[in-house]
Symmetry: C2
Subunit: 252 residues, 2 copies
């Protein structure tokens, strides 16, 4: 029987999602808890592998297990075992044929940053400070260029194993509230470091750099674009599957 989990984590002290030999990762903590719950080695898959330091509001995971525990009770079973920076928010039986990695239709990431002369201790954990005040209108004009189907080869860190670098970005939204800026990007999939490279280019353009987006789509060359932004400003907001995975809780 396959189960689906909605998972949230503060990525600060995780070496990313994917299991590693020695490091503390989200997958290894989930699999350790699953072993305790089901009494058997249990692989936990994720909608995607977030990097070390990247956070998640709504990572979707699945696992296969034989158990009498009702699907919706798995949430509590996991949370009794998991460390406080990792929580299962919802659990359910997976739809027929569901695969959290392969079935994802859309993902949304958010990149957070702020402008200030000194670091702001209450923002530093989940956002990155920039040293110039960005021009949101310039950023907005560049953001529009990202939207649509493009070959994002130039927006990918080396070492990616993706078969094709063509992706569709459905929307790039910029907001500012109380000095905290957010870039929210929804697409059908993302290459390695793609959101952090897009964020870096948009922020650099906001701070006066000439945009190199259109040229980068044509050349496929990483070097014309600005630098990759740090992991801690990034969070996976949502993975969507075109089907309802969880009963809406009574509170919503």
């Amino acid at each position: 029987m396959r189960y689906v989990l909605l998972v949230s984590y503060d990525g600060t002290h995780f070496c990313g999602f994917q299991k590693q030999k020695k490091e503390r990762t989200v997958q290894s903590e989930l699999e350790r808890a699953a072993f305790e719950i089901f009494g058997a080695e249990t692989k936990v898959a994720g909608s995607g592998r977030t990097d070390a330091g990247v956070h998640a509001e709504g990572q979707v995971c699945h696992l296969d297990a034989e158990t009498n525990i009702p699907a919706e009770k798995l949430r509590e079973c996991f949370n009794r075992i998991l460390p406080p920076d990792l929580r299962v928010l919802k659990s359910a039986a997976a739809p027929e044929g569901f695969d959290c990695t392969r079935s994802a239709k859309r993902k949304t990431y958010c990149y957070s940053f702020y402008f200030a002369e000194s670091e702001l201790p209450l923002l530093e954990r989940y956002a990155v400070r920039i040293k110039e005040k960005p021009d949101l209108e310039r950023m907005q004009r560049a953001a529009v260029l990202i939207e649509g189907e493009h070959d994002f080869k130039a927006f990918c860190a080396s070492g990616s194993s993706a078969k094709t670098s063509v992706r569709t970005v459905y929307s790039v939204r910029l907001t500012e509230r109380g000095g905290l800026y957010e870039i929210r990007i929804t697409g059908n999939g993302f290459l390695y470091n793609m959101v952090r490279i897009i964020a870096g280019e948009l922020i650099a353009v906001g701070c006066g750099k000439e945009e190199a987006i259109t040229a980068a789509f044509e050349s496929g060359e990483r070097k014309a674009l600005a630098k990759t932004m740090p992991a801690k400003g990034l969070r996976l907001v949502e993975a969507e599957y075109g089907v309802k995975l969880f009963e809406t809780a009574s509170e919503e």
Copy 2:
């Protein structure tokens, strides 16, 4: 010469503002940095003593020192020494006769909380989870009762050394955004634990408790009110002095 500092900290790993013999506090970290900068024992006073775990967006401090360092450069000098969870955001020469503790005219605190079935790792650091969905209208009706000049004796933890428990609360504002609730309170001063007791009573009323505010003003008895909320949801937003302490930076 007296200098004034605008200070922000993540209170998670501080045992409060006030210096203690062995514990890590905001005041002791500031005084340690001041000693290094000025080469002499330097007392750093604060607008008020925040408790262990309470955060500050804008704590106001002062110190007396003889130095050739321009006042506005003190910010950088402190930040080169201070730990990352404590930052001086602005520094300036203090106005004539200024005392950050005695001259404060108004202070604003904010209490943050959220409702969810499981802890949300990305909110847990600066907000407190409650287990029932609060009724904001009920909370709003109770909040109005707090406003005005009252004897807040019942809203004070034992051990307070204040001469009088009469205070004026100028406003209590409730907001909700993306599931995060905030109670923002501005007053001419606050007793020990007063904001956390007010927050506890308002949240309890939002979750169905009958309000005991008016009766508590009359009786002065703590016990009719709900329990004190935890420190981590509280932050000192601002201390106001009726004079402009800092030049507005070019970015604002």
